[in-house]
């Protein structure tokens, strides 16, 4: 089958109406929701994938899947959790692909190393972020997800369980272990 041209797309007026009707929210509501969530979701994707360019692509895909999902979400918090769930699954799918090795989905260290700090504070911040990136790279993917959602995103144990598809009762123990491990790595300077 050949790719659709723009003129062919224009002829599909009826299908357009159908596809837009399948989006769960209208454009204005989407704009508001996107403005509130895009940066945190991008930050999550960036740290979980370890690649800022990949995070750009994954961000678009995350919102597309969110728009196409026919789920009833009563509150903004539910919508946000659902968004992070989609983002988590996208990164996991990417990791399962044979050609995308874990080293490629690693740590984002390259982005930080190439940063150009212009002051002492900025330089210290860059060093801390580099330590964090190296330490995070040594954790299991699930540990990274848990820690980010809990301490960067501020999600509750119930929200983390929903986002990661884990039992709510197991979050406390998993989080405790991951936290202890990351704290140890950070004290060693990420090495």
């Amino acid at each position: 089958m050949h790719d659709m041209t723009l003129s062919e797309l224009d002829q599909l007026g009826d299908e357009v109406a159908v596809s837009e009707a399948t989006f769960q929210m209208d454009e204005d509501a989407f704009r508001l929701f996107y403005e509130r969530t895009a940066r945190p979701v991008w930050a999550y994707l960036s740290r979980m994938s370890g690649d800022t360019k990949l995070a750009d692509d994954l961000l678009q895909e995350t919102y597309y899947r969110f728009l196409r999902a026919n789920v009833s979400l009563e509150s903004d918090a539910h919508r946000r959790n659902y968004l992070f769930r989609i983002a988590t699954n996208l990164v996991r799918d990417l990791r399962r692909r044979p050609r995308v090795a874990e080293s490629q989905l690693a740590d984002g260290i390259g982005d930080i190393e190439h940063a150009d700090p212009q002051s002492a504070d900025a330089a210290n911040g860059a060093v801390r972020r580099l330590d964090l990136a190296r330490s995070m790279a040594r954790l299991k993917p699930r540990e990274r997800e848990l820690l980010w959602l809990a301490y960067a995103q501020g999600s509750s144990h119930k929200e983390i369980a929903e986002t990661l598809g884990l039992k709510s009762g197991s979050i406390k123990l998993l989080l405790f272990r991951a936290r202890r491990r990351l704290a140890g790595l950070l004290r060693e300077g990420g090495r």
Partner: protein, 168 residues
Amino acid sequence: MIAECVREADVLEAVAFGRWPEQCGDLAAHVAGCEVCADLVEVARALHDDRAWLCREAQPPSAGMVWWRATIRARAEAARTAARPISVLQGIAGACFVGAAAGLLTVAWHSVHWMDRIGELALSLASRRADIAAASTIAAGHGLPILIAVAAGLVLAPLALYITLADD
């Protein structure tokens, strides 16, 4: 085994709201002697600061751009979904043409043998039936090209029609 501290929530709140460590005299003294809270501060502060930096540095595409791309993609997917049954029918039609062509060729092949036998039968007749024998030989000699021409016409005509319609 999980080691817990009753002041974990206070520590987390102080880090999350940017009060750590300047506005946390009492809490800072506790953290200095509590291994659990010290781990929590180490991790929560690093992740909190990293998120804040990433959110500042992030340059996500505009909401309008994301919406527009999603709409275009939804249109294309809807078009593909709508076109799928037509493609299936075209495939079935193509398979039918191929089957019919194969059937016609088989029939034509058998007919040629049958006509050859008629020719042989005619030749075996006595010379007094020389006119009939000659006619049969001619029929046998020209039977194959005629049958192939008819079969080719039957196959190519619908095929040409199919290709023309498929382009539309």
